[in-house]
């Protein structure tokens, strides 16, 4: 046990199980097959590309849990990480 573990609460395996399950169930319940996720990803690339140059290969989307605005627990959210190559390249002509 390191000194850090002594001060910080160590994450126990049941916490991992809970976190993994929550993520898993969100995508299970949303019934988002890999195909659908791929379509969403392609559509996002298409829309954003109209305005700026993005790194399509580095784009990552997933469904996660996030704290709801109303503060009543967590709600599912679509999280997209879109690396931008050049913001100015496709500004309004």
């Amino acid at each position: 046990m390191s000194l850090l573990d002594f001060f910080y609460k160590r994450k126990v395996s049941s916490d991992y199980a809970k976190d993994r399950l929550k993520l898993l169930l969100v995508s299970d319940r949303a019934n988002c097959s890999p195909d659908v996720m791929e379509q969403i990803k392609n559509d996002i690339i298409e829309v954003i590309s109209r305005y700026m140059e993005i790194d399509a290969s580095g784009l990552d989307i997933q469904i996660t849990q996030t704290e709801s605005q109303e503060g009543n627990g967590s709600v599912p959210a679509l999280f997209a990480n879109i690396p931008i190559k050049d913001v100015r390249s496709k500004t309004i002509k």
């Binding site: 126990v12 395996s13 049941s14 809970k18 993994r20 898993l24 299970d28 319940r29």
Partner: protein, 262 residues
Amino acid sequence: MCEVIVITSGKGGVGKTTTSANIGTGLAQLRKKVVLVDTDIGLRNLDVVMGLENRIVYNLVDVVEGTCRYRQALIKDKNTPNLFLLPSAQTKDKSAVTPEQMKKLVEELKEEFDYVILDCPAGIEQGFQNAIAAADRALVVTTPEVSSIRDADRIIGLLESNSICKIDLIVNRIRMDMVKRGEMMSIDDVVEILAIDLIGAIPDDESIVISTNQGQPLVGDDSLAGKAYMNICKRVIGENVEFLDLTDSGFLKRLSRLFKKS
């Protein structure tokens, strides 16, 4: 009024059959007239857990196909009055029965019994569809593990889309010593994730293995699991029973057992 209850889980090996045997026996001990139906065609096991495997003459498929009347296939329990088993077939496969045939059979059983308990096979294919076709309510069994909870969530979705609205959760094989250490999800964690009502939790108790070895359900005896199953039965018939403290199934209990033996 007869109630038809399906006991299901999605994942195999979480304790559906043991739970069916104990809840059926427990309800009969509470003086209800109960029939246990093993719907797992091809892999019958409920007869073994009940210790009735040597008394089978006809089975579910024989009844559905009209080879015999359902009364000829029913096996009377050896210990508990008012308890009957309708065994499954070992040599046929799951497509031997259709959901419509199950519904018709259960309609007949409803005339005679207070409770029809359907032991559902693992999976979500035809065997599952057969078992849920005639059910009024469902008891979903899960263990506090990721794979089993995931499958339970899927099953709950399928039950709801088949308009079975009364769904309760049984958390099986909980080990309070591990929960205390944070190495196992707690009952509350499981209930929070699955978001359905809890009807009971069963500790991971050695006495379950012993009772299965002997072919004698332990519901109603003074083991912790036996008490927990009896409480579930009482909640099924509508009694308000407090939840058991399962903590003494851990280290101390084992220690005291050790001393008892020596």
